[in-house]
């Protein structure tokens, strides 16, 4: 969720831009600047006005959030079928987190149930759990961060299955999360451990490998 902190100068004589003084509003790596009057340092009214603006923005953000759609009818449900035959009913908004499924729905191929041949029911359950949370709590950045951290506390097999599933289903955020988790797990390993981890055959001769190691000996300490 993006939040902006404004400093409102209640005793302004000059006309500086008031709305949208928040600079660099980004999801990650954000930085903000707030305005300070040269003539009047911190005062209580500053705090109050700051708090008021913050609350105002918070409420306006919530009401305009696309996740809270006011629809009188119940949300459309989509049926997904895993590779081992189990079916899952999910809301359309949740299913659309997967671009693969989104295209299928848009191309009108999703009449009865959508088969997901590459993904088992265990993995699909986890994927749906992830997408559900990310649709429901879309604006809660902190909450999503802690959810993601907990969600990734899984064993290696499940993690790799999730990676392949999110790649097939084209769910970028889950793919990035999975890849980052794997990256953090392997970054300290040495090449032999990496080969074991991914089942990779070493196709270098010992001389070739030594050549490469000699190029950057400091990383092997």
């Amino acid at each position: 969720m993006l939040y902006a902190i404004f400093g409102v100068q209640t005793f302004l004589q000059r006309d500086l831009e008031l709305r949208n003084l928040s600079l660099f509003n980004r999801r990650k790596g954000f930085s903000y600047l707030f305005q300070k009057s040269l003539l009047f340092p911190f005062s209580i009214s500053f705090f109050l006005s700051q708090g008021f603006i913050y609350l105002f923005l918070l409420s306006s953000r919530k009401s305009s959030s696309p996740a809270a759609i006011m629809s009188s009818s119940s949300p459309k449900m989509i049926t997904l079928q895993s590779s081992d035959g189990e079916t899952f009913e999910v809301e359309e908004a949740v299913a659309m987190e997967s671009r693969t499924i989104k295209h299928m729905i848009e191309d009108d191929c999703a009449n009865s149930s959508i088969p997901i041949p590459n993904v088992t029911s265990n993995t699909l359950t986890k994927v749906i759990e992830y997408c559900k949370k990310h649709v429901e709590a879309k604006s809660d950045e902190e909450g999503l961060k802690s959810f993601d951290a907990e969600f990734m506390k899984i064993d290696k097999d499940t993690l790799y299955d999730l990676l392949m599933a999110s790649n097939y289903l084209d769910i970028k955020s889950l793919l990035d999360l999975g890849c980052q988790t794997v990256a953090d797990k392997i970054k300290g390993k040495n090449p032999e451990e990496i080969r074991k981890e991914f089942g990779i055959k070493n196709d270098f001769t010992p001389e070739e490998e030594e050549e490469i190691r000699k190029e950057s000996p400091w990383v092997f300490d």
């Binding site: 500086l16 831009e17 003084l21 600079l23 660099f24 980004r26 990650k28 790596g29 954000f30 930085s31 903000y32 600047l33 707030f34 305005q35 300070k36 009057s37 040269l38 340092p41 911190f42 097999d157 790799y160 299955d161 990676l163 392949m164 790649n167 793919l175 990035d176 890849c179 980052q180 794997v182 990256a183 392997i186 970054k187 300290g188 040495n190 090449p191 990496i194 080969r195 074991k196 981890e197 991914f198 089942g199 990779i200 055959k201 070493n202 196709d203 270098f204 490998e209 490469i212 190691r213 190029e215 950057s216 000996p217 400091w218 990383v219 092997f220 300490d221």
Partner: protein, 387 residues
């Protein structure tokens, strides 16, 4: 047991790894080696590491001492995060006489070292010896460097340290720009030439001259925003102007200053997260006014003043704005150290107390970008990192 993960997924995982791990994993297999050194991967890796978390602060001190630390821990955590020292690559004197360039020894004497610019993990530095400047393109993360060919300037030319380094997305090339002042012998007057080095061509070229009317401020390093290098200059009569050099078209343009300030302030340009900033600091003194910070939110649009503050520089030179924290604190480089100004408290704090002389500072990220597109042209500098 290893599950089979296809190579394109492996590539996604690899692009999130730090440079040190990637250098290690080059010897896993031939396909991994070719992935890691491929230009597309290097770009993807750069993109994945562009966030604030991965930024480092590079500090240049006296005698060519380069140190860096994590920018995030500096601004949000400890006032003295761990500093890593870099070994500067200085080519041997022999190289200048043309006798081979692959030795890894370093000579022990050299003159002033300055940073021309910093971009995508590549640092362009200038080393001056016996009034001759050598330029070096250096990636300290992979410890490779390339000495640029000599500029070949006549004796009437002089360098005033007005230069820059940046990435030209149009031709996918890294370019170093040096302004050369030419005094004409037969009294034609002064001319400021522009020399450009491109990583692809590995040669210097002369391009359009610097516009004659504004007088550039020296020394200064061009600030790269939107593919253009920006320099501060003074108009003929009074007032300041920003001169921009488009790296793609290699032509000059001009931009107005946000507001007219008299000459009792020092002005610097900065770039943070792709936005151009105009940073004004008062000179210390009894009549010192406050400082201002302007930003150009949309490139080419108008300036917006976002901060007014009371901060006086603690040294004789202009502070340079390096970064802004989430709470609106300003991280600045003063010549006596790195300071964090908090507008909430109305004063600044010295960070990294062991550093008391800062010639220059830049934010940089570790990357795999090579100093030369032909790997064989890069020299390695291999001394271990000192802690």
């Amino acid at each position: 047991m290893g599950k089979y993960i296809p190579l394109h997924l492996i590539t996604e995982i690899l692009s999130k790894l730090p440079v040190k791990s990637l250098l290690k994993f080059r010897c896993v297999s031939k396909s991994w080696l070719s992935v890691i050194w491929s230009p597309q991967f290097i770009k993807a890796h750069l993109k994945d590491h562009a966030s604030e978390d991965n930024q480092r602060l590079l500090i240049l001190g006296n005698f060519g001492s380069f140190k860096h630390c994590s920018l995030k821990s500096l601004m949000y955590g400890e006032p003295s995060p761990r500093l890593i020292t870099l070994d500067i690559p200085i080519p041997l004197a022999d190289e200048r006489s043309g006798r081979g360039a692959s030795s890894t020894e370093h000579i022990s004497w050299y003159g002033p070292v300055r940073i021309v610019g910093c971009c995508d993990g590549l640092i362009c530095i200038s080393v001056t010896r016996a009034s001759q400047s050598d330029f070096i393109l250096w990636n300290p993360s992979i410890r490779k460097y390339k000495k640029l060919p000599n500029l070949g300037l006549p004796s009437t030319a002089s360098l005033n340290r007005v230069w820059g380094f940046g990435y030209d997305s149009f031709s996918d090339d890294y370019k170093a720009v040096i302004l050369v002042k030419q005094c004409s012998i037969n009294g034609e007057g002064l001319r400021v030439e522009t020399r450009v080095y491109s990583r692809k061509s590995e040669a210097w070229r002369r391009i359009a001259d610097f516009p004659s009317t504004p007088r550039y401020t020296s020394p200064s390093s061009g600030v790269l925003v939107n593919g253009k290098l920006h320099f501060l200059a003074h108009k003929k009569v009074r007032g300041r102007i920003i001169v921009s050099l488009d790296l793609a078209t290699e032509t000059y343009g001009e931009m107005e200053e946000p507001n007219h300030y008299e000459s009792d302030v020092c002005v610097t340009l900065s770039e943070i997260e792709g936005i151009l900033l105009y940073f004004i600091n008062p000179f210390p003194g009894p009549f010192a006014r406050g400082g201002d910070l302007w930003v150009m939110k949309e490139y080419g649009g108008s300036w917006t003043k976002v901060l007014t503050f009371q901060h006086e520089p603690s040294g004789p030179c202009c502070p340079k704005l390096l970064s802004v924290s989430a709470e609106g604190e300003l991280l600045m480089r003063e010549c006596v150290g790195i300071e964090l100004y908090s507008s909430g408290e109305g004063k600044s704090f010295r960070l990294l107390k062991e550093i008391y002389n800062v010639l220059d500072a830049y934010c940089f990220t570790e990357s795999l970008v090579l100093p030369s597109t032909h790997d064989s042209n890069c020299n390695d500098n291999m001394k271990p990192i000192k802690f």
